[in-house]
Symmetry: C2
């Protein structure tokens, strides 16, 4: 029982690492099993297809990231400071990833959106749910900031989507140039997008 459960976790973990390095389409089940150190026969005991594995990888990655986002965005700091912390932790995570594997791997959800959303409807739907949840969380912080008069936006949801779009666009550049310092602009850009160009604290250098 212990070993069975291990094998499933090993497959998921190997698949996530390989997807981050090389995308989804280029991978085969045999390669994932080899990297996981499990016999190929056991793959289909746990997953009915490579797509089913990809959905599980998305779910597990989002479960972890949702915990982080919840801790930060539901925290005690002032609303805009929570957004700032989200950007700083995102930059730190990308920097740690770069240190461990040599390149900035970017956002797993953004990567798979551009690679796969037109190819499999199940993956598109899951990615939509994940980005909807991210936008919900950012919208809730913007609504608080709006109630406190700290931002000036007509539509908090549209504003939240723009902040997440800015995050995805800058992470794309961080991956392209293999340079996380791109992400240093996120905080000032979010303030600008939210009509809060005079924050209480000055923008810290990174």
């Amino acid at each position: 029982m212990g070993r069975t459960s291990d094998a499933r976790e090993k497959i998921i973990s190997a698949a996530q690492s390989l997807i981050e390095l090389r995308g989804y389409s280029a991978l085969g089940v045999a390669e994932i099993c080899k990297a996981a150190g499990v016999p190929k026969g056991s793959f289909y005991y746990f997953f009915e297809s490579k797509e089913a594995l990809a959905l599980t990888v998305l779910d597990e990655h989002w479960a972890g990231q949702r915990r982080d986002w919840t801790r930060i965005l539901h925290g005690d700091a002032e609303p805009l400071q929570r957004l700032r912390q989200l950007f700083e932790e995102t930059e730190a995570a990308q920097r740690a990833g770069q240190k461990s594997c040599g390149t900035v791997s970017g956002c797993l959800f953004g990567n798979l959106t551009l690679e796969l959303s037109n190819q499999t409807e199940a993956i598109r739907k899951r990615l939509q749910e994940i980005f909807d949840a991210q936008v919900d969380m950012v919208e809730s912080v913007i609504t608080e900031a709006l109630q406190q008069g700290e931002v000036d936006v007509a539509d908090p949801r549209e504003a939240a989507r723009s902040v997440v779009a800015q995050l995805e666009g800058q992470v794309l550049f961080a991956k392209l140039y293999n340079n996380t310092s791109q992400l240093g602009a996120l905080w000032a850009n979010a303030l600008a997008l939210l009509g809060a160009r005079s924050p209480r604290e000055t923008v810290a250098g990174t």
Copy 2:
């Protein structure tokens, strides 16, 4: 001679369509040749590898897009209005693509950045050059707007990168939700990012 040249163009055109639909990694040379209607043997007469073909697809796509961007961004309109026109034509192009193939295919450069930039250095370098050129063109418009006192930015290059990042992020959402109306926010967001929140003209509905 005419037929030879045709075959090369057919391969490039088929490859671009297939890459937009399904990404690069999932494609094989045989499939590209079949879609192009040319014998597989002729592929290696024109291209030494699939990667060489991908670089040619990038170059040709950028040659066309650079012509459009130059026409718009070097036009006679006021600087900020040229940016607005760029966003409107981007949205129209994505809408036309969606009409012809059923789904929003997004930005070829963004797609291949997230799929491939960590896998092949030649493609990463070419994509860096293309995005550098895009940022150059937007920076030049922002610098003009700055000289005319229409925007308030400390660093025109950083601002240009943020505008292009916003464009890539919103195109990602347009692809994810298969909905080009996402792109309607680009103009207002660019004004906000550039500290030009009171444009001379009001934001037009789409």
